[in-house]
């Protein structure tokens, strides 16, 4: 081969490929906004720039695929979701969860705690702490992640803000009134449901592991609500001991715990765990919370509803608590 063949031939193939798989897509892919797309505000744009500077893109993708059940497969990514973005931040790794639908998943105070140190809210997280960013920068970053998901996210954020006002007001009314308020949102059938599974040693051991992996940063090692995230959160995490004098009809609590853990409390930092934990795990961690921090276990008030308990399992003797049984 002559030098001319190498140079001209390779350049011809190179630019032909460029034409075929870069220029043609550029011409044929319109930058048309999708149904949920909206323009970004100045604060969100500043946050986006921080997102780029701090390399969030190396751990967080911004597109959901059909198989991503746990990551919000309610909405699969569409080309128009990225309109006007320079560059779109698709990402190639998922060390952390997908963020394309992140807006409104958590209230702002959760993000404040989380950006300061992700271990505050998520004990097993490997996300870096962004404590080196100023409060204003963290606020911008929060505005940006709250905007992810476009118009859908706006609806969720509005919902968070609506309930945030009510939750803060309820908290200001004092601890017992606050508990009464958060319980008032739990449907009747759940309020009057005991934990169908006994607080066996095995169940408590599983519950402890779950508690340490998901809850300890907020509710604290002794369940008093004074985890490391507490200073950032308003209202602060619940002190479970309060529930001892706020049992439903003086006897039920298992169903309330389950319902709240499953669905979270919108407007407060309490996240939902429906995607993280299967049903049995939620009952286990409820048992752990009830047994250790409330000092009261309501199994087996009613076993008529769920027939799947391990029949012969006996709860272990209480540790320093008086275990009430009807």
């Amino acid at each position: 081969m002559t030098p001319a063949v190498v140079i001209i031939g390779s350049m011809a193939l190179f630019w032909a490929a460029f034409l075929g798989v870069v220029v043609i897509p550029t011409v044929t892919m319109p930058d048309r906004p999708s149904d949920t797309w909206r323009a970004t505000s100045a604060a969100e744009e500043r946050g986006r720039r921080l997102y780029i500077a701090d390399g969030c893109v190396y751990c967080h993708s911004q597109y959901v695929r059909p198989q991503d059940w746990a990551e919000g497969a309610q909405r699969i990514a569409r080309a128009g979701d990225y309109a006007r973005q320079q560059p779109p931040l698709l990402g190639s790794e998922r060390t952390g969860p997908d963020l394309s639908q992140q807006g409104g998943e958590h209230p702002d105070d959760w993000h404040r705690a989380h950006f300061t140190n992700p271990r505050h809210t998520s004990p097993a997280s490997v996300m870096p702490s962004f404590s080196f960013r100023s409060a204003a920068q963290i606020a911008d970053l929060t505005r940006y992640v709250q905007s992810l998901g476009g118009k859908d996210a706006d609806l969720r954020v509005a919902r968070q803000q609506h309930w945030k006002g009510l939750a803060v007001a309820a908290y200001a009314n004092g601890p017992d009134a606050n508990v009464a308020w958060i319980h008032s949102k739990v449907p009747e059938v759940w309020r009057k449901m005991p934990n169908p599974y006994p607080a066996t040693e095995a169940s408590l051991a599983r519950g402890q592991r779950i508690y340490e992996l998901y809850c300890v940063g907020c509710h604290g090692p002794s369940g008093d609500g004074r985890g490391t995230a507490q200073p950032y959160l308003d209202p602060p995490p619940l002190n479970f001991a309060l529930l001892r004098r706020n049992l439903i009809e003086g006897k039920y609590i298992g169903g309330v715990l389950y319902y709240q853990i499953m669905n979270g409390i919108t407007g407060t930092a309490m996240p939902y765990f429906k995607t993280q934990l299967e049903s049995a795990k939620i009952w286990d961690v409820s048992n752990y919370v009830a047994y250790n921090f409330i000092g009261y276990v309501d199994y087996p008030l009613r076993t008529d509803q769920i027939d799947a308990a391990y029949e012969n399992a006996e709860p272990p003797p209480p540790k320093g608590f008086v275990k009430d049984q009807p």
Partner: protein, 461 residues
């Protein structure tokens, strides 16, 4: 001699092999720096609060520093160094414009140094492998234009009529990188350096894959094509195979960028082209490997006695593994399980470190004594480096692939990302440990390079 002339001679010397030697040394230095950034990243994933509150050691900032410095600073510098020696030799001439090549060397190292500092400080375009900001992009292009000029003119002033296959790849490697960088970094749109909307992803990954296929791979193949026949003391097995390998590489590699976007919202026809051509990549890979290995046949003793030979041979094995894995993970049904997780990180390390990096080290140790006119200071230390890097990269492959499969299966069965974190923690810890072996190899290599230059026994080659 005026002081200006002296300065010129000092920094842009005209004597033979000075640019090649300096590129090799740069590669050895950046190997240490780049893998240290990698270790900080790996430590972060194993113990995230270790560097808490130090902005320039935050994971998202050091990761692009790691990839840029190992890929460009280490692998590419060392391969350029070897290429600058090999091309003149097979063309039976001297490098044309040694001063220009030296200028390229300084500009290149300035670019690497700027990247090594600017990325941890958060100056980035935020596009994977195209992170360097506009002024540094300009430096990279200038450096590659200098090298292209020097090599094109070397070819033009050659005394050997036939162009050996290494010349095609070596010349191509620098030329293609120079022209690829501009559209890849969307350099006419500073400071963002990106297209607007989803189409930017198409641009980015066309560039992202080409940087491996048109910069790293051709230069590594050029080095292997020269050194393997030299060590085997035999002519290359087949000219026809080299021709097929060269043209199919160019025709196919340039179309497969969209296999990074198979699950993203880009046009299906583009994905289809990329999958078909990715599978067809078996052809250029197989022709190159068959050609190299058949050249080695019957000469294994020579390779057993030569550390550069072993490094290049190991590189060719990793090339095989990478390029069996590559087409497989381009299939949508496989990528369903491997995308977004550590499987891809495993692929990246066996490719860039196993194949290109080990080949670059082979080139470094083969060429350095020739351009320094000194014997290598210590052969056993090359051996030690060989084993440390080989065990390290094999370990990476095993633990990262395992972690990736765990992540992929949990996610596909409805598990959350958070839930996989405790499951992969031991593997990420093991990765940090294997990484230390590689870093050990990098520093031992640098020591050996420096000692070769100052203490190596002089010889006339």
């Amino acid at each position: 001699m005026t002081p200006l002339n002296r300065l010129l001679d000092q920094f842009l010397p005209a004597h033979e092999h000075s640019a090649a030697r300096r590129f090799l040394v740069s590669g050895a230095v950046w190997f240490c720096a780049g893998t240290l950034w990698g270790l900080i990243g790996a430590m972060h994933l194993a113990a995230p609060d270790f560097f808490r509150g130090i902005p320039w050691l935050e994971f998202g900032r050091i990761r692009p520093a790691h990839t840029t410095i190992v890929l460009l600073g280490f692998v590419t510098s060392a391969l350029i160094g070897a290429t600058l020696y090999i091309l003149p030799v097979v063309l039976r001439t001297k490098l044309y414009g040694e001063r220009v090549a030296n200028l390229g060397m300084w500009v290149w190292n300035l670019a690497m140094l700027s990247g090594c500092i600017s990325l941890p400080l958060g100056y980035t375009q935020g596009r994977e492998y195209a992170e360097l900001v506009f002024p540094i992009d300009c430096l990279v292009v200038i450096a590659f234009l200098c090298l292209t000029y020097s090599l094109v003119m070397t070819v033009a002033t050659r005394h050997e009529n036939v162009l050996y296959v290494s010349v095609w790849y070596g010349l191509g490697g620098v030329l293609w990188t120079a022209v690829l960088w501009v559209p890849g970094n969307v350099m006419w749109r500073p400071p963002g350096g990106a297209m607007i909307g989803i189409v930017d992803a198409v641009w980015l990954w066309w560039y992202g894959h080409n940087i491996f296929g048109l910069a790293t791979t051709p230069m590594a193949v050029a080095v292997a094509y020269y050194i393997i026949p030299r060590i085997a003391r035999k002519p290359l097995y087949s000219h026809t195979l080299s021709l097929i390998g060269f043209w199919t590489l160019l025709a196919l590699y340039t179309h497969i960028g969209a296999h990074h976007l198979l699950q993203a919202p880009v046009p299906t026809w583009l994905k289809t082209v990329s999958v078909i051509d990715s599978v067809a990549m078996v052809v250029p890979v197989a022709t190159v490997l068959v050609n190299l290995w058949l050249t080695m046949r019957g000469a294994l003793r020579e390779f057993a006695d030569s550390w550069p030979g072993k490094l290049i041979f190991a590189g060719s094995i990793w090339y095989l593994i990478t390029c069996i894995q590559g087409p497989l993970q381009s299939l949508p049904s496989v990528q369903r399980h491997t995308h977004f997780n550590n499987w891809v990180i495993g692929h990246a390390h066996i490719a860039v470190l196993g194949f290109a990096g080990m080949t670059a080290l082979g080139g470094l140790w083969y060429v350095l004594p020739l351009v320094a006119r000194r014997k290598v200071y210590s052969q056993p230390l090359i051996g030690l480096q060989y084993w440390l890097v080989l065990i390290g990269v094999a370990g990476f492959f095993v633990v990262l692939t395992a972690a990736g499969l765990i992540q992929g299966e949990v996610w596909n069965n409805g598990g959350t990302v958070y839930r996989t974190l405790p499951m992969i923690a031991p593997y990420l810890m093991a990765r940090a440990m294997f990484g230390m072996l590689i870093i050990g190899g990098a520093f031992i290599g640098l020591y050996n390079v420096v000692m070769t230059l100052v203490r190596g026994e002089p010889h006339e080659s």
